[in-house]
């Protein structure tokens, strides 16, 4: 066809002509105009439904993708915050623990300062026999720290017990509420001597002690304080043991028995002091 041949032969010329036309059109349409040209209006009329559909589809896709992104962000944030809360809770727990420990140790320290004639060392309770009561328990100091059998174990609230076994870095303590424990005590007001035995026998654990061998004419009564007598060779004199809560005399006995509630809380023991020696000896 003549037309195609003409096109082929003069392609460069056609391109230049169309280019110039487009350039002119672009320049012309770039001028600010109040109203759309007829052509633009027509094309817009035809194309705007298509455009609308495209726009709708695009915004739908955009919306859903943005939502997914946002949700993922939220999730991430949530996980992070959760982790942070866990961390902070742990931290708080630790802080509370430290605070309590601090208070306990302060009390122990007060005791140590008060009784400055006693050479003491602190120890942490590391284990105990099963059950509610600290009948026999272990501490984290032993022979290497200068601990020996029969040393007194105390807290700021009174006598805990004594060392019965020593390892290199640990020791076993028998508390005064244990049924096998017997120590020499004295009623502070009446100066009556007696033996303080633990009442925590198997099956009957009430965390009290009994002071036996009190003379029949003893005026011991409820509320009297009992301290160590210092008789024997291991416990220092004058350490608080507990308070008399009941005085009884069993029928066949030739002595009175006083039930003592120890000053130490034997259900909650964490740190103790060990009396190594008396400084004035």
């Amino acid at each position: 066809m003549v037309l195609l041949q003409f096109l082929r032969r003069h392609s460069l010329a056609i391109i230049v002509a169309v280019s110039l036309f487009l350039l002119a059109l672009a320049i012309f349409t770039s001028q600010p105009r109040g109203s759309m040209s007829f052509l633009e209006g027509l094309v817009g009329e035809v194309i705007s439904p298509v455009q609308k559909a495209i726009y709708r589809a695009a915004s739908f896709i955009h919306g859903s993708i943005a939502e997914i992104k946002e949700r993922r962000n939220l999730r991430e944030n949530y996980e992070q915050l959760k982790e942070r809360v866990e961390q902070l809770e742990k931290e708080l727990l630790r802080m509370n623990e430290l605070e309590k420990q601090n208070q306990r140790l302060k009390k122990l320290l007060d005791f140590a300062v008060e009784r400055e004639e006693l050479v003491v060392t602190g120890a942490r309770v590391t284990g105990k026999d099963p059950g509610n009561w600290f009948n026999v328990f272990t501490i984290d100091k032993g022979k290497n720290q200068g601990i020996a059998v029969n040393m007194a174990v105390v807290t700021e609230r009174g006598l805990v017990g004594r060392i019965i076994e020593v390892g290199p870095n640990w020791a076993k303590v028998r508390s005064i509420v244990d049924a096998q424990s017997s120590i020499s005590g004295i009623v502070e007001r009446t100066r009556d001597n007696g033996i303080v035995k633990g009442n925590n026998a198997f099956g009957a654990e009430d965390g009290t002690c009994s002071m036996v061998y009190l003379p029949l004419d003893s005026e011991v009564s409820e509320g009297d304080k009992v301290i160590t007598s210092g008789l024997g060779d291991f416990l220092p004199k004058g350490i608080y043991i507990g308070e008399v809560i009941k005085v009884v005399r069993y029928k066949k006995d030739l002595y009175k028995t006083a039930v003592i509630k120890p000053g130490v809380d034997f259900q909650r023991l964490e740190e103790v002091l060990i009396v190594k020696a008396r400084s004035d000896e």
Partner: protein
């Protein structure tokens, strides 16, 4: 048949470009898929197909998104025409060839835009424009070129595209 396929490709590209591409935008830069298509036509079919495809694709863009009717049409038509001149002179099966032309054409488009802005009185530095827009767009477009070209090549191998225009 062929002409409808090309028109469909151009229209589909327009829809994808306007709906999907905002989401693969990186730092405000999108790949110029129309340019890859025009260059594919140029290398696979030559003139006048590529020049007309560029003109039509560009016009569609102008009418839908542009402010100056003819701005894009002119660019894409020229790209289609000049790249179409090498049709038959290079081996169109290689992926590196469209990548090369896409790179060149992106720079050409950038320069065109710069000149346009310059003559419109917009104060813009070529350096800034190159670093901020042209170079990132070139890199991004070059990355997607092999994908689009691969499918265009496949399309052209299809039998319904083999019928040529017989005008005479």
């Amino acid at each position: 048949m062929k002409i409808w396929v090309i028109a469909g490709v151009l229209l589909g590209n327009l829809i994808i470009q306007s709906s999907l591409f905002p989401f693969i935008e990186v730092y405000g830069v999108r790949p110029d898929s129309l340019m890859v298509l025009v260059i594919s036509f140029a290398l696979l079919a030559g003139n006048p197909t590529s020049a007309v495809a560029g003109l039509c694709g560009g016009l569609l863009q102008d009418i839908l998104f542009g402010q100056n009717i003819g701005f894009y049409a002119l660019q894409y038509m020229l790209i289609g025409y000049f790249v179409g001149l090498v049709y038959g002179k290079v081996f169109a099966g290689k992926l590196l060839i469209p990548v090369f032309f896409v790179g060149i054409a992106t720079i050409f488009r950038g320069l065109f835009a710069f000149l346009w802005m310059y003559f419109a009185g917009v104060d813009v530095s070529l350096n800034w424009l190159f670093l901020r827009t042209i170079l990132p767009e070139m890199i991004y477009t070059v990355i997607v070129t092999p994908i689009i070209y691969y499918y265009m090549n496949k399309l052209y191998r299809h039998k319904f595209m083999n019928r040529r225009w017989y005008f005479d």
